[in-house]
């Protein structure tokens, strides 16, 4: 394999928004974990689609529709390649990771799970991987169990074993990388653990997919979900990977056009997956944008991306450790470029507002993980998260900004 040189300066030139200024300052974007910025290649692919080859997909017998369908379906192959799925038919397009999980909860949850079966999630889930299972519990009579985390922000294996002890857990739904702590979960081990106990496993890859090469077959994932917009693609397009035999047995999620084999007033029969789960006109332009985003990250290469982010994360942790009164939440062995912290005397919202005045964008609040905040004993945190375009200098700017805030609130 070619040893690719990671040139962050060249990468930054691919992202038009990074040349913007905010409040008269250079724009320092440290909120990629919420949504990443878009490279020119993605923007151009979407514009090109609308300008040169756009019509509805899977319907028209005319040239434009066929061409658009081809390009739309080619993205399914790209996603299958990205995840190393065994088949393109295992890739379902959704709106985002949230919709993917809701699809599984509604379709798989109400048919493959019986009342009394349990779904297990961890203490570090985004609300997107918690609330759908609460809704399933309330509607269908499944149980919802919570696997504890340790103080270092890693999965508590003892708690995991307890949760599975009575054999009732039939689905383990868990994050691949925490959006608050940056912790990676040991997904291969978890899949083996779940399968040995008769449970399926769903992985929320919203954060992980951006930073690591994901191989759903090597992991042994039954379901894997992510959103396009965190992977430098557009909003409105997400992915559900599901093992073929599982998807085959699942009923539709939404009814409408494109998801049927035949329709009469008496009854309709369903199309095969993935189309069974894609009712209505899909997000055609966004899907084509996602295809361009996948090409973009694969051209850089996940090894290079991971090495760059490892360097940034180490630098950031060292820099933050120098700031008195600042505490980083979580200290997992295997962690990535998402760092939450609190400061003595300064509230996360004040930190975010004051950094914003210096042109630095961080997230502050509960990060859609209210129960986790309770577990960590905080009401909110500030969070810096990194992308391919993040530089060491930007982390130094964060340090500089935090030192000023520290003085103000001393």
């Amino acid at each position: 394999m070619l040893n690719k040189v990671f040139d962050v300066t060249a990468i930054r030139e691919d992202f038009p928004i990074l040349s913007q200024t905010v409040h008269g300052k250079r724009f320092v974007f440290l909120d990629s974990g919420a949504s990443a910025q878009k490279p020119r290649a993605v923007i151009d692919a979407m514009v090109r689609c609308m300008e040169t080859q756009y019509a509805n997909v899977h319907r028209g017998l005319h040239f434009m529709s066929e061409r658009t369908s081809d390009e739309y379906e080619a993205v399914r192959d790209k996603v299958a390649g990205l995840l190393n799925a065994a088949s393109r038919d295992e890739i379902v397009f959704t709106r985002n990771a949230t919709e993917s999980i809701n699809l599984v909860a509604r379709s798989f949850g109400t048919t493959a799970l019986e009342p009394g079966d349990a779904v297990a999630v961890s203490e570090m889930e985004h609300h997107a991987n918690l609330v759908p299972w609460q809704m399933l519990r309330d509607a269908h009579g499944t149980e919802l169990r919570i696997i504890k985390i340790t103080d270092s922000g890693e999965l508590d294996w003892e708690s995991l074993e307890q949760v599975f002890a009575d054999g009732k857990v039939k689905l383990l739904a868990i994050t691949h990388m925490s959006n608050v702590l940056g912790t990676y979960t040991p997904v291969e081990r978890l899949a083996k653990f779940a399968h040995a106990r008769g449970s399926k496993i769903l992985l929320d890859g919203s954060q992980a997919i951006v930073h690591r090469k994901v191989d759903v077959q090597a992991i042994g994932a039954d379901f894997y979900v992510f959103s396009g917009h965190k992977l430098y693609g557009p909003t409105g397009i997400g992915v559900l990977y599901g093992k073929r035999e599982i998807l085959d047995a699942m009923p539709p999620f939404l009814g409408g056009g494109d998801m049927i084999a035949s329709v009469s007033y008496e009854r309709s029969t369903w199309a095969k997956p993935p189309h069974r789960f894609e009712a209505g006109t899909p997000a055609i332009i966004e899907t084509i944008g996602l295809g361009a985003a996948i090409d973009y990250v694969q051209a850089i290469g996940f090894e290079a991306i991971a090495a760059h982010e490892r360097d940034l994360t180490e630098h950031a942790l060292a820099v933050l450790a120098r700031i008195g009164g600042l505490r980083v939440l979580g200290s997992a062995q295997d962690r990535g470029g998402v760092i939450s912290f609190v400061m003595k005397n300064a509230h996360a919202h004040d930190i975010a507002t004051l950094l914003d005045r210096q042109g630095i964008a961080v997230r502050a609040g509960q990060h859609c993980a209210e129960p986790l905040m309770g577990r960590l004993g905080v009401t909110s945190t500030a969070r810096a998260s990194f992308g391919v375009y993040t530089t060491r200098e930007e982390i130094d700017a964060l340090e500089h900004g935090l030192l000023r805030i520290q003085k103000m609130f001393a």
């Binding site: 004040d350 507002t353 004051l354 909110s380 000023r404």
Partner: protein, 135 residues
């Protein structure tokens, strides 16, 4: 750096609030929470005064404390009127004479996501006042 928002009065009242703490006796209390950030403010109303317990950012805490001071000795109708003027001020950024020191919060008008921090204590106070037994 944001002198317009984080000015001395706000920093002082957030660090050393004068009207903080749960009183031994009160006629009504109410709590408001900002779901976005988890901030919480509790307001206690008695015939003597208004007190607050704030767990949140500097803006919210200072706003609660300045509010408690501003409404001292006022009746419910006057407080409701003042709340309206205050809300208009933090949205427009234009100071109003009747608000006195509360005008220090005018800077939040530039930070749309922070306006709620300033108005949260007032929402709690309005809720508490509804529960005060009318005699």
């Amino acid at each position: 750096m944001s002198a317009e928002l984080y000015q001395a009065l706000i920093m002082d009242r957030s660090r050393n609030p004068r009207f903080a703490g749960r009183p031994a006796h009160f006629d009504a209390q109410a709590e408001q929470k900002n779901a976005l950030c988890g901030d919480q403010v509790q307001v206690f109303v008695s015939s003597a005064d208004v007190r607050h317990e704030s767990r949140g950012c500097a803006i919210m805490t200072a706003s609660a404390d300045l509010m408690a001071e501003a409404v001292a000795g006022k009746i419910a109708g006057e407080i409701a009127a003042l709340k309206k003027v205050f809300e208009k001020m933090v949205n427009s950024g234009e100071a109003a004479e009747s608000l006195g020191e509360l005008n220090a919060l005018a800077g939040v008008s530039q930070f749309r996501s922070r306006i709620r921090c300033a108005t949260l204590p007032w929402a709690a106070l309005a809720q508490a006042l509804e529960e005060v037994p009318h005699g």
